[in-house]
């Protein structure tokens, strides 16, 4: 991950609102996207992430607030004049043009000579791994190839920001994984800001420097992937990113930066204030715990904090096994993930198990 301490903001969003008739699609988005970072807009469908991307690109007018690109207010600036370029979800490759003509499309207005254009197109195609494809007909390409053409076509214009609208959703799993690492490599190589829209949280975690999680037109949390995963700002964010177990808990006291909680099934624990995104007032609350934060103890293993339980369900994935374990005294089962190692048995339903748990991995909601 890059050091993000001092780069300037390339995009500033100030209280951006967007209405479609009565429907409030963007509700006061405020954020800064830094120069050179790989930024993702993540959320379920309908949350407004694509609307926001298109507003930055200039395809949607905003109803309120400001969008600043490199310090300049983009109000009234048409999409064709903004220093952004977009890779569309359908790639939008012009079927009546060749690959080379597609990539060089935006150079028409630059007024450069044919030789110069050909050189730049060749370079752009090399950069995306399609060297020599210039003469091919654009409508005969595969999905992955089209995406690369779309990338080359956008990057050849050296935009300040590259916008990507769910670029990988149309690809199959293998292709998607390959393109994820390609996009990251490309972004580092080119050095410009990428803004990616996706509904796939795994994808966002893999590729991004920072992620803005959006629900219903608002940013729920804006943070680097690790912070998002380990310290979700709300239960909803915790549920959306990865898997999380939720257990009812009671806040006993809050004093001097430490919050005492009682969790039926696990025990009593003291949490740091940083682990409590909410007010942490005494009373009923919920604890969030990732499956990998709980460990099944096998023969001969011990831990500082142990909780007994019974195995309810076993799901075997090959490299991992997920157990649903009902803790004694807890109202619901928790999901525990264990790496499968040689010599380590896979438990069966009905077995009893002892779980080791770490209070440092807990997040308190409410």
């Amino acid at each position: 991950m890059k050091d993000m301490t001092s780069p300037p903001a390339i995009i500033t969003l100030e209280d951006v609102h967007k209405y479609y008739g009565d429907y409030h699609a963007l509700r006061g988005i405020t954020a800064e996207i830094k120069q050179g970072e790989f930024f993702s807009l993540l959320g379920p469908s309908g949350c407004g992430k694509t609307t926001l991307l298109r507003a930055i690109a200039g395809f949607e007018d905003i109803s309120g607030g400001r969008i600043l690109l490199d310090g300049t207010d983009m109000e009234g600036v048409g999409a064709n004049r903004r220093p952004t370029n977009m890779v569309f979800q359908s790639y939008a490759i012009f079927p009546h043009l060749s690959v080379g003509e597609n990539v060089g499309f935006g150079l028409r207005k630059a007024g450069m000579g044919k030789a110069e254009k050909t050189r730049l197109v060749g370079e752009a195609l090399e950069m995306v791994g399609l060297g020599g494809y210039g003469a091919r007909a654009a409508h005969a390409l595969s999905g992955g190839q089209r995406q690369r053409v779309a990338l080359a076509r956008a990057l050849i214009l050296k935009p300040k920001v590259l916008l990507l609208d769910e670029p990988l959703s149309a690809l199959d799993k293998k292709m998607r994984e390959q393109m994820q690492s390609e996009l990251r490599r490309l972004q580092r190589q080119v050095g410009i800001t990428f803004i990616l829209v996706t509904h796939d949280q795994e994808e966002a975690l893999i590729m991004s420097d920072r992620i803005a999680v959006m629900f219903e037109g608002e940013i729920a949390q804006l943070a680097p992937p690790q912070d998002l995963y380990r310290r979700p700002a709300s239960k909803r964010v915790g549920q959306f990113i990865g898997m999380m177990n939720f257990l009812p808990a009671t806040v006993l006291s809050e004093a001097g930066g430490e919050v005492q909680v009682e969790v039926p099934g696990l025990g009593r624990a003291g949490l740091a204030r940083a682990q409590c995104p909410g007010p942490a007032a005494p009373g009923a609350a919920e604890i969030g715990l990732r499956p990998e934060s709980l460990t099944v103890l096998f023969d001969g293993q011990g831990a500082e904090r142990v909780a007994p339980g019974t195995v309810e369900e076993v799901t075997y994935y090959g490299d991992m096994t997920y157990y649903d374990i009902r803790l004694d005294g807890a109202p619901n089962a928790v999901s525990v993930s264990m790496r499968n190692m040689p010599g380590r048995p896979v438990l069966e339903r009905g077995h009893t198990a002892n779980l080791a748990w770490d209070a440092r991995a807990m997040v308190l909601f409410g």
Binding site: A57, F59, G78, A79, N80, R81, T84, N85, M86, F88, Q89, S90, A92, F94, P95, H96, F105, G106, R108, K109, H139, A140, R153, A154, L157
Partner: protein, 268 residues
């Protein structure tokens, strides 16, 4: 097997459909003044007679002028409307588009007499232009139907991509939209031309002193002696329509191939 029976039926049905048309060349080349069997030898006389009839030439020129003008006008109006209908939503869209498409479901005689009545009321003299107006009215729905298909088949983000890459709406239309919609435009021109060329009722009601080809044909039908010549004329007209239609179909398929889309079978 049911399949066999249906196949036979289908072939018989096609024979039924084509039977009258096949008779055209048969009697156009027949050396006899009565349209009946048995055939009496081969001749080009009737075709030669076509070449020496000035009234026929005049009617043909009228028809061609009307057809070309109608095709261009109807396609232009159809372009505007088809684009508005596929790309934008606006208040009253369904009623407006529905109204423009209305001539498709009105019997032509209603269109013909209402145009006639208003022109007489307004004191307008009937001329080729009144026929062009009527033909354009009934061709626009066909043009819209064809062009709507073309626009719908075109990925919307193609135009957005062009704008994103720096083009203005006008240059986007020229560089991206027009080339991709061109097969539809050509098909529309050809179809409207064919419809106008063959159209009878509106031309019949609205023609002043300058008849179109079908109106001229109608006038000739009551002279039995002219029948074989009409057969010859009919042969040429049918051949022309078929050639135009095959051309339109060729362009339609080429358009689909260029856009890399599957064939869904026909204009309609």
């Amino acid at each position: 097997m049911k399949g066999r029976g249906l196949h036979v039926y289908a072939v018989l049905y096609l024979v039924f459909l084509y039977a009258p048309i096949i008779l055209l060349p048969v009697f156009a080349f027949n050396d006899g003044t009565i349209i009946a069997f048995p055939l009496q030898g081969f001749t080009f006389d009737w075709f030669r007679a076509l070449a020496t009839t000035p009234a026929l030439h005049e009617a043909t020129l009228n028809s061609l002028f009307i057809a070309v003008t109608t095709a261009v006008l109807a396609t232009c109006l159809g372009l505007f409307a088809a684009r508005a209908a596929t790309r934008y939503s606006f208040p009253g869209k369904a009623p407006i588009v529905g109204f423009i498409m209305l001539p498709l479901v009105l019997p032509e005689i209603i269109v013909a007499i209402s145009l006639l009545v208003i022109m007489l009321q307004l004191g307008l003299s009937l001329s080729l232009w009144t026929i062009i107006a009527g033909h354009t009215l009934i061709c626009v729905p066909f043009s819209i139907a064809i062009l709507q298909g073309s626009f719908a088949n075109m990925d919307r983000s193609l135009e957005e991509a062009a704008v994103d890459l720096g083009e203005t709406p006008l240059s986007t239309f020229r560089l991206v939209t027009l080339p991709l919609v061109m097969p539809g435009i050509i098909a529309s021109l050809l179809i409207c031309f064919t419809i106008s060329l063959d159209e009878f009722i509106i031309a019949f009601f609205l023609s002043g002193n300058e008849p179109t080809l079908p109106v001229y044909l109608w006038g000739q039908l009551r002279f039995p002696a002219r029948l074989p010549v009409i057969m010859a004329l009919g042969t040429i007209l049918v051949l022309l329509s078929v050639v135009l239609l095959i051309t339109a179909e060729f362009f339609r398929r080429r358009g689909l191939r260029r856009a890399g889309l599957p064939d869904s079978g026909g204009f309609l």
